[in-house]
């Protein structure tokens, strides 16, 4: 039997969004794979304008919450790319026509690489968000338990995986960096308004991505049905499953350089 693999679109989210998003994705998959008798339960997300469906199975709900707790605990204990607090950065502004670009340089004037530099041009005000990323893939697999061929005594059982879902999360940790006022320019920092606007944009993008993932799940379960084994259990969760959290990937670029700069660099004025 083939093991069908469905890698879901990566979701970029903040720490406090992980629980809701994971609940939504996991429960949606289970609803389409719990082919025994279920009493569906509609759940409205608090952070997003999305309604998803749960099977209404209390044991499953408990197990999902336990897994989510484990995952969040892991992210908290091993943030990998957690920033030390940023006290100072040199930020150069370059204007080209109507566009203002922000370039972050270290005290040695060599260009640093960051995972992402986000800025908004609001006339004379901007904020630079330096982000560290932690990508994790959570796997939800369904399997059948069969006697291992060639073994008679003692009987050995093996798991035959017939489907694997890959839930890709990019947990972003943000830190704000502020420009310093220079006597050479009239740049004024306005972090409050632009931060709210950025959060709003980011939240809307995540909602759209989450919706895409739910459509992806529906599309996959519809297009691929032949590999689903006969239903062994007519009550609720019909197939045995496992949820695993493999090692996270290291997606930072130049982070070590940045940390060294924080330790050894000294403040410079805007040029």
């Amino acid at each position: 039997m083939n093991c069908e693999v469905c890698p879901l679109k990566e979701l970029e989210l903040e720490h406090f969004e992980v629980r809701e998003v994971l609940r939504c994705v996991l429960h949606t998959i289970f609803f389409h794979r719990a082919l025994g008798l279920v009493r569906p339960k509609d759940v409205d997300l608090e952070l997003f304008d999305i309604t998803y469906v749960q099977c209404g199975d209390l044991d499953l709900e408990k197990k999902i919450e336990e897994k989510i707790d484990q995952f969040i605990d892991r992210v908290e204990k091993h943030p990998n790319k957690k920033y030390q607090s940023v006290t100072y950065l040199e930020i150069r502004l370059k204007k080209s026509g109507n566009t203002v670009r922000a370039e972050i340089v270290d005290s040695g004037s060599s260009r640093l690489g960051f995972n992402r530099l986000v800025f908004s041009d609001r006339g004379y005000g901007f904020t630079a968000d330096l982000q560290s990323d932690s990508s994790v893939k959570i796997c939800l697999s369904f399997y059948e338990v069969k006697n291992k061929p060639g073994t008679w005594f003692p009987k050995k059982l093996e798991r035959l995986y017939w489907e694997q879902w890959e839930i890709n999360l990019n947990v972003v940790q943000q830190q704000k960096a502020h420009s310093s006022k220079s006597h050479h320019s009239k740049v004024v920092v306005d972090p409050g308004e632009s931060a709210v606007e950025e959060t709003s944009i980011r939240r809307a993008a995540l909602e759209a991505s989450l919706r895409e993932v739910l459509f992806q799940i529906i599309k996959f379960v519809n297009e691929k049905k032949d590999h689903v084994p006969p239903i062994p259990n007519l009550d609720g969760i019909s197939f045995p499953y496992e949820i695993t959290i493999p090692g996270s990937s290291d997606s930072a670029f130049g982070m070590d350089m940045f940390k060294r700069m924080l330790q050894t660099g000294h403040p410079t004025m805007l040029s």
Binding site: T28, F31, H32, L35, G36, L37, V38, R39, P40, D42, D49, I50, T51, Y52, V53, G56, R211, L214, F215, I217, I218, V221, N222, E223, K225, V228, P230, I231, L234
Partner: protein, 245 residues
Amino acid sequence: MDLQDNVQKEYGRFEQIVSHFLSKSLHIILDSRVPSIFPNGQNPLLGTPVKKSDKWFTLILGDGPACLENLSLWHRNLTEPMIIDIVLVQEVPDSSSGHNPTITFGLGMYVETLIERWVVQYEDSRTVFPHVVESSSSYKKTYKKSIILLRSLYSLMRLLPAYRPFQKLCSSTRALDFDISYKVSSFTAPFSRKELEVMKIHQFTPVDAPEGRLFISLTYRDDLSCFNLDTSIAYPPQIITDYFA
């Protein structure tokens, strides 16, 4: 003739699956679009005994609308499509607003706009010489795949744009200036080109059956923002002349 008996028995089971598939689809669609036909609420209470008919496709939905009971009488030919139109009914402030009212009541004008058209159908592909059913498990495979299809229909209902106005109707304590109604038929006029310009199409992958296939398709408006469904009716203040404190 044992073989002939088996074939007839299998087909009998399959006809049951098709009939219940149509009925369950209708229930799922109306359940999440038209609150007015479920006066006692839609969600079946935990602990209440489950009727045998509700266990079909392992999806407990509770009591269905009255139209479901009449479905088997009306829809005798299983190969005819079941077309479910979901219609947004909106009150128009006055006749000079530029709308084209289609219904006029005593006090107000109403406009009906089709926002979703569902087509649920069993396509019978039997040829002159029907092939013998391979094994007794073939209808079981069809049933299993139908379960999955109906699960995804249930999920999709909650992700489409029309779910939001339905939720507003269910949860609002104030009167709203719109309502959602439905029509079920086996034949309808095709969409005009103008109508299709504002609509999208979604087709579920059909479920193969021994003698044909089951399929569900949807044509829908993916943008309902032009209908301003966030407003509620603002009643002008009135003096209550016979009020007693």
